[in-house]
């Protein structure tokens, strides 16, 4: 429901621009630390930018650059996720990763990688021979030369995690403004006044977590940006659930300078994905799927796991990494301006978000932001939609299954359409429930879903037949 521009009520301690995984985690951290937070998101729903599509790996940071800010944020974010996931109802699939060398050159890089992992504090790693690698993953194709296992690389749900972070912020007093784009603003030495498409808003501190638009927001609000975003596209193929039986580990290639390379891993939803590619582009909006690239991904997937050849493709998707000319995160506190840029969180933001949020909070403390942390914060639970945990369809009173492939119940859909973080788009509803995301892609349930969501989405799935 695009609200007309109006004076937004109230003034906040902190305004977070952008509700990607980073903005959601920052909103949570500042709320728990006692601040009054507003989260401002231009899209009708949260997670509409870089956080829309990723590999959903909870990285240990074993292959991150030693000493980098990114590496520290990953370590801290990883640790906090392990600590809080149960309390928020978030899944954790302890898959472990297997780095596999397929060529002589890759094999030669392994010792350095293992050393790098140890330098990054990931010590539980031992080199594996070809036979040992294959013993761990018998489905691997021909040509495995060596490898090593990273036992604590895990899989999570890319969407329920940020949802839970923001839900906890909202349950403890934060405000979410969706469909609200920041168009400008200024700092008067004490307070920020932000101009948005829904009216002005004032805040003590502004945090730019605008992802693919981080540089643009900097330019708009503080007159310049220290980096330029150049989106890096990653395309994926999702295989149907039987394919998940083909590999236990997250199968990682030996990373190159530019990318972590083509990964094969399960998903929290019980599927198996192959991807991502790494393709630089100028377009910040469109992550276009390219048939030839998808075919190549398929072929690569079948080299890694030959049994993939007989498996059905359930879905295809692509995401955009907010990459910049720098390798590391671009996080800067502009002290005189009460402004923090949290930019270029390129390819590890899901893992680092909770740690990045803590880092940003510490930066703000440096320029005088100090509140009393909440004594007994509320811990709302998200509905678990991991295939590796009990699902609603197995429980009484679920209202019946609506989406048959993903076994999404009416109760789950109703829950996702209500509450403080109610889905407002079909895409948002999918991220919360998985509805229509299975093998039939809506063949069976679109009609029932269109009826169920009638009048409740900003972009309806369909209009009444007699509305001519």
């Amino acid at each position: 429901m695009p609200a007309a521009p109006s004076a937004l009520q109230g003034s906040f301690d902190v305004a977070v621009i952008g509700a990607g995984v980073i903005g959601c985690a920052i909103a949570r951290r500042f709320t728990l630390e006692g601040a009054r937070v507003a989260v401002i998101e231009k899209a009708p729903d949260i997670l509409d930018g870089a956080s829309k599509g990723n590999s959903a790996i909870l990285h240990t940071g074993f292959d991150a650059p030693p000493g980098a800010l990114e590496t520290a944020c990953i370590a801290e974010g990883y640790a906090e996720y392990l600590e809080i996931h149960d309390k928020l109802g978030l899944p954790l699939i302890r898959a472990g990763a297997l780095v596999v060398a397929w060529t002589e050159e890759e094999e030669a890089l392994l010792p350095a990688l293992i050393q790098q992992a140890r330098d990054n504090g990931v010590a539980d790693i031992a080199p594996l021979s070809a036979a040992e690698t294959r013993a761990l993953e018998p489905g691997l194709g021909a040509g495995v030369r060596a490898g090593f296992r990273v036992p604590r690389e895990y899989l999570i749900d890319p969407w329920s995690a940020p949802h839970a972070y923001l839900l906890q912020a909202l349950a403890n007093g934060a405000t979410l403004l969706r469909g609200c784009e920041v168009t400008g603003g200024g700092f008067d030495g004490a307070m920020w006044r932000l101009e948005t498409t829904r009216g002005p808003l004032s805040a003590g501190i502004v945090i730019n977590a605008a992802g693919l638009y981080g540089d643009r927001i900097d330019a708009r609000l503080i007159g310049h940006s220290d980096f330029t975003i150049r989106p890096r596209k990653g395309q994926f193929i999702v295989y149907d659930k039987p394919a998940a039986a083909l590999a236990t580990h997250i199968l990682l290639p030996v990373p190159s300078k530019i990318t972590k390379g083509i990964v094969v891993c399960r998903t929290a939803f019980g599927n198996l994905i192959v991807g991502p590619t790494a393709e630089d582009q100028d377009d910040r909006e469109t992550a276009a799927l390219v048939p030839e690239t998808l075919a190549a991904l398929r072929a690569r997937g079948e080299e890694i796991l030959p049994a993939l050849a007989g498996q059905d493709v359930t879905a295809i998707y692509a995401g955009l990494r907010p990459a910049s000319e720098f390798k590391d995160y671009q996080i800067r506190a502009h002290a005189g301006l009460n402004y923090v840029t949290v930019g270029a969180i390129r390819s590890t933001g899901l893992s680092s978000a909770l740690g990045t949020a803590r880092h940003v909070h510490r930066l703000c403390a440096e320029f005088g932001h100090q509140r009393t942390p909440l004594g007994a914060p509320v811990w709302p639970q998200v509905t678990g939609i991991s295939e590796y945990a009990r699902r609603d369809w197995q429980c009484p009173g679920n209202g019946g299954i609506v989406c048959h492939c993903e076994r999404v119940t009416r109760r789950e859909i109703e829950a996702a359409l209500s509450g403080p973080l109610a889905a407002q788009s079909l895409a948002g509803l999918k991220r919360r429930t998985r509805v229509t995301m299975g093998r039939c892609q809506g063949f069976y349930c679109s009609a029932a879903l269109a009826a169920l969501t009638k009048g409740r989405l900003t972009q309806p799935m369909a209009e009444a037949e007699d509305d001519r």
Partner: protein
């Protein structure tokens, strides 16, 4: 709802489409004690529920019906015969020896049966499975989803879509559009010719819809809603066509997730379970009928299969069809023959339920079909066929009581 679900039935049928409902009526007519049909949708009837057009029912009811009326009659007949039809119940797992896990609004529970008949039908393949590029806006639908929106919910998902495909079902998509009072921007066929038989191929012209052959969709455009498609012709020429929806039709695949996740043997060629001439699966307590067996046949054909396989099940309960090993496997040679059904034959004196082998070809084929048993030619027959068209071969082309391996091949040449 689950409270009044019996925990046992002589025969449980999974899926209340034409095949399942026909089998239910037949089983009751043959005196089987308890017949329970489980259907996951809120309404029984299967695909015809949302086929707003005719012709359905000539063979079954000797009259011309639209899909929904046909579905209602099939249900009424099964219920009148004494079958118990439960909707809103999803079978989630098949266990050896005919135990089923079922889910409903009440949660999860188990049901046992002496025989289980699987009739879960077919669906169309997706945009993702076809690796069609571009973005992922709203308004990309299968024919089935479109029909459901229009005929079950009185909703209209778009006003100016394109139709991808020229199978029979693609023309149903055109009819559904006509019902909505909208005219598709184009009908798009990657191949050189319309897949469906005449007279369906005349429909686009009648509706004033341009038919683009040798053309594929390389990308779908739009952020929230479809705004257009990129097209490429066989000679490499590209162009853009504005539209607000894409109907991705046909490319049928059996809805076989349940079978695939079970102990039953699958046939990768049909995408359904391996069956013998009685429709019996690799676990003799399980049978299958209807379009789950293969892509794709008509409602009438599926209905008839439900009936004759239902009869075979009734006889198996009376022990007239004894349990025995499946002793002959039919293998396809080369890449012209796409699938064959049944895939195995059991040594059994009882008359077969399926009297014909059903075949399809992968490309237009003109030549000879040759059947060999243990290396010896037992049949050589002229064949001239197009993809997606029904081809049958009498089961008795195989010598009675033959054992071993039968091989079917196709050789190009003068028919």
């Amino acid at each position: 709802m689950t409270g009044d679900l019996p925990g046992f039935a002589d025969v449980v049928i999974v899926g209340a489409g034409p095949a399942g409902l026909a089998a239910a009526a037949e089983l009751k007519a043959r005196g089987v004690g308890s017949v329970l049909v489980l259907e996951r949708e809120a309404q029984a009837g299967g695909i015809p529920r949302h086929c707003g057009h005719s012709p359905f029912g000539m063979r079954e009811f000797h009259r011309l019906l639209r899909g929904p009326a046909y579905a209602a009659r099939l249900l009424a007949r099964a219920q009148a015969a004494g079958a118990l039809v439960k909707t809103g119940v999803t079978v989630t797992a098949l266990h050896p020896g005919s135990g089923l896990s079922v889910a409903s609004a009440g949660g999860l529970r188990q049901i046992t049966a002496r025989r289980v008949l699987l009739c879960t039908g077919v669906r169309e393949s997706t945009r993702a499975a076809r690796l069609i590029g571009g973005t992922k806006p709203g308004g990309v639908l299968s024919t089935g989803a479109l029909q459901g929106m229009v005929h079950l919910q009185a909703l209209r998902p778009f006003r100016n879509p394109v139709v991808l495909g020229t199978e029979l079902v693609s023309f149903s998509a055109l009819l559904t559009c006509r019902h909505l009072g909208i005219r598709p921007a184009a009908m798009i066929e990657p191949g050189p010719r319309v897949t469906a038989r005449r007279p369906a191929g005349l429909l686009p012209r009648l509706q004033g819809v341009p038919l683009l052959r040798n053309t594929s969709i390389t990308a779908i455009e739009g952020r929230d809603r479809v705004t257009g498609v990129s097209l490429q012709t066989a000679d490499g020429a590209r162009r853009r066509l504005a539209c607000d929806g894409v109907i991705v039709t046909g490319g049928f695949r059996p809805e076989a997730a349940l079978v695939r996740d079970s102990h039953l043997t699958m046939d990768p060629a049909t995408g359904g379970p391996v069956v013998d001439q009685f429709g019996r699966c690799s676990d003799p307590a399980y049978f299958a009928a209807g379009n789950l067996l293969r892509p794709v046949e008509t409602a009438g054909w599926s209905w008839n299969e439900g009936r004759i396989i239902g009869r075979a099940i009734a006889e198996s309960l009376g022990d007239e069809v004894p349990d025995f090993a499946q002793n002959m496997k039919i293998e396809l040679q080369g890449d012209v023959l796409k699938y064959i059904l049944p895939q195995t034959l059991s040594a059994c004196p009882a008359p077969a339920a399926l009297r014909h082998f059903q075949l399809r070809v992968t490309r237009p084929a003109r030549g000879r079909l040759i059947l060999r048993v243990n290396g010896e030619v037992v049949l050589s027959r002229a064949l001239s066929a197009l993809p997606e068209r029904r081809i049958t071969l009498p089961l008795n082309a195989l010598p009675a009581g033959a054992e071993g391996v039968a091989e079917l091949s196709f050789e190009d040449g003068p028919a």
